[in-house]
Amino acid sequence: MSAAPEDASVHRALGLSDEEYEQIHELLGRHPNHLELAMYSVMWSEHCSYKSSKVHLKRLPTEAPWVLVGPGENAGVIDVGDDIAVAIRIESHNHPSAIEPYQGAATGVGGILRDIFTMGARPIAVMDPLRFGPLDDPRSRWIAEGVISGVSGYGNSVGVPTVGGEIVFDETYKGNPLVNVLAMGVLPSERLVLGQASGVGNLAILLGAATGRDGIGGVSVLASAGFDENSEGADKRPSVQVGDPFEEKRLLEACLELLDEGLVSGIQDLGGAGITCATSETASRGGAGMDVDVSAIHSREEGMEPFELMTSESQERMLAIVEPEHLEKVLEISAQWEITASVIGRVTGNGQLRIMDGFEGEVLAELPASTLHDDAPEYNRPMSPPDDLTERRLRDASQGPANCVEDLLALVCDPSWVYSQYDHQLFLNTVVGPGNDGTLLRLRHPSTGEETGRGLAMSTDGNHRWCYVDPRQGTKMIVAEAVMNIACVGANPLAVVNCLNFGNPEHPEIMWQLSESVDGMSEACIAFNAPVVGGNVSLYNETNAVDIAPTPVVGVLGVHPDLSEPPPGIGLPPDSLLLVLGQEPESDVSMGGSRWAWEVGCCKDGVLPEFDLDHAVRTAAFVAESVQKQRLKAVHDVGEGGLAVALAEMAIRSGIGAKIKNHDNHISMFNESGGRVLVAIENRELDDFVKTAAARGVTAKVIGETGGSSLQFGPMVDVSLESLTVASENQLPEALGQGTVNA
């Protein structure tokens, strides 16, 4: 097993530093061979080990009595009562989507679904926060169309509804789109399965698609020379993975059936680092070891080398740990679902991961399974705020050629062009779907289908403008916005998942952004009593050495306690009073970080408006309570674009306008002071409603009344609903529909 001291070029080409190589040398007590080196290189990559971010992530709150599984497993799991648990996770697929948008997005959906059914849960919802370069850039449009079709093509076919998400276009994502995918599933609480291998002699069975040379990009430098000479070389080898939703659907049904029948003792999906990760992770979690027979792996291509089989990221594969007496039944269920199943491993008691050519054959690699995870390096990389931060914060973001009517027309955008391509209704749960504040699903028991009379609410939110101006406060505000969104559909928050999309961690200001953002998230999650139960970090989001604006994205999960009536929705009712709930903007409120400042005023600096987190907590609770008690005629969170855009969305939805007192300048119309919600109530409810708000410590101000066929702000600003509707509906089809054929 001993290998010669390594030529340094090999481990460097694999992305391991000299120090990391030395650490492996010490862990093994000898020099690693090529296969071992390949396995360490994939497991110790940023993507798998979180080596640059771990030190910061530890500061996030992760515990609450209702948290059954926190970060570190395949998905977070929450107890939502009635013997139902909810599994939830979010992940990024940014870099693959930049190269092959359709497949990048498709495999992103596939990967996150496997994380959910790995926990024993049936996936019932997907959400996709998407961020692309500007619409006037053809390549960004190509990426956007490809990604949207990929989510649609894979998600619809695999049969999991896409019930919400976001779509954002900005210069900062030109060349580096952000494709985040959240998935949620439900399981009977007693069936929670963890990805671990225990019981010496148990079998590890590889289920699903054949293994090909997918996604082995980085380690392909190890390919024997002969393979490459006649073709174009290792770098030309396809490293793009192709998704097969039909395989995934069968795999999902087969795995859930195996779990229903109690045939598996542990199960793990294959994602980054493929079989290496799945075998070592299950073994080390279970305190066991594993012998892996590479010759038993069913492969798609001839002549695959062991390092390729061990590190391939081919899609639609799972590893199940099975007691030998259940093997026959497992193979039978796999066959029924037309799923290939191969026994590739045996659980051992020695903690070693041994890779072999046949169970009795040559040992190709041998290492302590836990070293691939537990001993992965951890870096506290240098961090410092940007040099020009003070200067940037002094700039006044309210300057610019303001034309209230034109600016409003430019800022409204109907996303239905995107979400009408997604099945968002499957499973008959969707009470409030995409295009609203939060998503609201009926909560039914996963085995019996019995209704609980309650609802599950979700929202995903991010805001790179706020986080660029101030990553700490910006992150607090996005958590508050996500919570406010689910409050608008009547839910109180239970848990948060996060996807931290940042630039190059070797740049000190990026690590500063990450650290600030984590602290802001931590503070907000504590305030809302919603712990972080899982997350994903995506670093190196940069193009030509320019980092993206920091883009933490959060997903919030909450419960609506009584779903006898649907929430009021965002559409304005006739003849009602309009109120703003929550913290009032300061009289000289800053426009820093607002969409108006970035897209109209063209200033990306300044400071954020003051933000009172405690007031936001009280406001969210009051909004949820008011929705639950059916006291509101309409409700909508005030987010990007400020009060005016929120009102326009409400008016467009129902075709009913409103007259707003004052608010007739661009600052009061478009500022993005956080923690605010617009509500409509009946006139006669006013006194009582304002009193209740005051008792809950929430500011409630009447700003106008509904009615008419235009939106009026003060005496001077008047926008017809017709022009708003046309502007809103045409934005995306005009920009994105260009490449499509219309009848």
């Binding site: 649609s152 069968r250 049904e253 009408s420 099945d423 968002h424 209704q425 054929v741």
Partner: protein
């Protein structure tokens, strides 16, 4: 009489449990029929539900029509048994030759999931009992290949024999004559692109599909 409905499940089908939920909520009984079974177990009616049978690879329904269960479905249909194909099920029925015509990609070349208004054109079929010609229903669609097409000869036969069951009031996909659903000459086999099982609760936005399923259960 309570009907026992068999719901066909191909690998890739995904609306089978929604269909079962809707049937049961309306007082019917329902059970899954697996695609590789050659028997349909004495059920009184059959639904081929929506989804992506065999991934919709090659053509929608092209692989599914060769499943062993389809022979039994075909015999059942020819003997006058009630058969309803929803969405992908409609596509399977046309591939299997139990309904005329074909479903091609939407004219806008996009998948479409949205609420649509459809109108009863004929009620002389297994979903029309209790409804009137001209009744308008809110029922969601969810498809990429829902653009119905057929030869002029078939179209004129569909029209004269009252085989057009539903038409869209605002055509979303380019279907010829706004066709949203058709039936065979006898009216016992109906195929429709909209999903009635998704419109069986006011909480979900519409209850208009209940009448169709109710009718199907009572024939």
């Amino acid at each position: 009489m309570t009907q026992r409905v068999g719901v066909i499940r191909f690998p890739g089908t995904n609306c089978e449990f929604d269909t079962i939920d809707a049937v049961r909520a309306l007082g019917g009984e329902a059970e899954i029929l697996w695609h590789s079974d050659s028997s349909i177990k004495n059920v009184d009616a059959i639904v081929i539900p929506g989804g992506f049978a065999h991934g919709d690879y090659l053509r929608c329904g092209a692989i599914a029509r060769f499943s062993p269960v389809m022979e039994a479905v075909s015999d059942f249909a020819l003997a006058g048994g009630p058969v309803l194909g929803i969405c992908n099920g409609f596509q399977v029925l046309t591939e299997a030759g139990l309904l005329p015509g074909a479903l091609q990609k939407n004219a806008g070349m996009k998948f479409l999931c949205s609420m649509q208004q459809i109108e009863f054109v004929s009620t002389q079929n297994v979903v029309g009992k209790g409804s009137q010609v001209g009744d308008c229903l809110q029922i969601p669609i969810n498809h990429f290949e829902g653009n119905y097409v057929c030869s002029p000869e078939i179209l004129s036969r569909l029209e004269t024999q009252e085989q057009i069951v539903f038409r869209y009031t605002d055509n979303p996909n380019g279907s010829i004559k706004d066709i949203a659903g058709i039936c065979n000459e006898a009216g016992n086999v109906v195929g429709m692109m909209p999903h009635p099982e998704r419109a069986t609760s006011d909480l979900l936005g519409s209850n208009d599909g209940a009448a169709l399923i109710q009718s199907f259960l009572s024939v």
